[in-house]
């Protein structure tokens, strides 16, 4: 089935089995391996991508449901070879340990910052509550998001 959708800003129309999951399409057809399969059950959040600007689990979306939608993966945040402000904030705040959960964390945070450039700590924690990190500390992650929000506000002043 030909499925037309926008992937990281580009209109694509691959011929796909519509009953496959978005995460498999991203990784196996488009070689975008940022989104990770942690649990395959919507619990861990490491496969999070944005669909029409909203964080969703790519393990819980069917390829056939993508028609007409916009998907943004962590790879899509890079512009002209430069990391996004949020990605830089993760690097600088040591918010990355083994890195497995990081793309999902970043995409959940991105979804939050697209709606709210001045989130409280509680709002950040709520936005990231569907993303589990097993090796580091959530504090650096929350700090990175706060930091990114601050820089974002400065840039948009």
């Amino acid at each position: 089935m030909i499925i037309k959708f926008v992937l990281n800003g580009e209109l694509v129309s691959p011929d796909l089995d519509p009953s496959r999951r978005l995460i498999d399409i991203l990784r196996e057809n488009f070689f975008l391996t940022g989104a990770k399969e942690g649990c395959g059950e919507g619990e861990c959040g490491s496969c999070t991508v944005l669909m029409d600007g909203l964080p969703v689990h790519s393990c819980l979306v069917l390829a056939g449901q993508l028609e007409g939608h916009e998907v943004l993966t962590v790879e899509g945040l890079v512009q002209n070879g430069e990391l996004d402000l949020l990605q830089n904030a993760f690097v600088e705040n040591n918010a990355v340990h083994c890195g497995f959960c990081t793309p999902g964390m970043i995409m959940s945070a991105k979804g939050l910052l697209m709606k709210n450039q001045d989130p409280s700590e509680a709002e950040i924690r709520e936005a990231l509550s569907g993303n589990i990190c097993r090796c580091s500390d959530y504090r650096q992650i929350v700090m990175a998001v706060k930091d990114a929000a601050k820089r974002l506000r400065e840039v948009s002043l």
Partner: protein, 269 residues
Amino acid sequence: MIFVRPASIIELAAALAEKEGKTILAAGCTDILPGKIGRPWDADRIIDLTHIPELQQIAVENNELFIGSCCTHAQIAENGLVQKYFKALAEACAQVGSVQIRNRGTIGGNVANASPAADTMPCLILFGAEREVIGENGECITGFCLPLPEDPSADSGTPVSAFAKLGDRDIVTVARIQLAAKSVIKDGRLSAVSVVLGAAGQTPYFCEEAAQVLEGSRAEEELLEPFAAALAEAIEAHIPGRTTLAYKRSAVKGPAAEILKKLSLELYY
């Protein structure tokens, strides 16, 4: 595998009428897909429900609020009409799973999946929602109609409602107990109180004795003990001998306190 993507109710009805072997209706897929890694589908056909605008509508029609079956929890939680008339439902949807789950999971899927812990169910029952269906056997839910409360006036009073959920964690948690209550504030007191208990039996149920405790009151703190006791009795009657009974009898005090607090805030602000 046949994949059908109707773009309107008419196309959906036509797809449902076709007999194409075993069919799965797919909405947000947050119940269908977990655990499906590499496993074959036990179906011949998938009908996608997410491209039908009519199913994504929330609108007032003839003194009722229509909520399309494919409205997501996030959409319902943020909707002004739901917040205004059916606050308990907005609160329940706001507590479903995580952000990602709320952005995909739908009210129709929540009901059709029929989990005893489905968070929207106690509220739909509390508000007397009617389900609209299509298909030869009514197999597809198109939406829910919730009768609007009377417009606030001195005579009818101001309608209020609240939802509380107790789980193993504070957030992203499966309900062990749900409590939903509605009332009308008249002369500074609660009247026409209804209370529904959920996740404490196969299906949610009204708890008349607990509602009676609050009737005519100002949701005072002192009512917590008798309110929780009435709820505990109802739980005992619905799950006698169940291993979780002792826990639920005592734990219901938590959501009971939350409901009292929320109703008292409505009374004073």
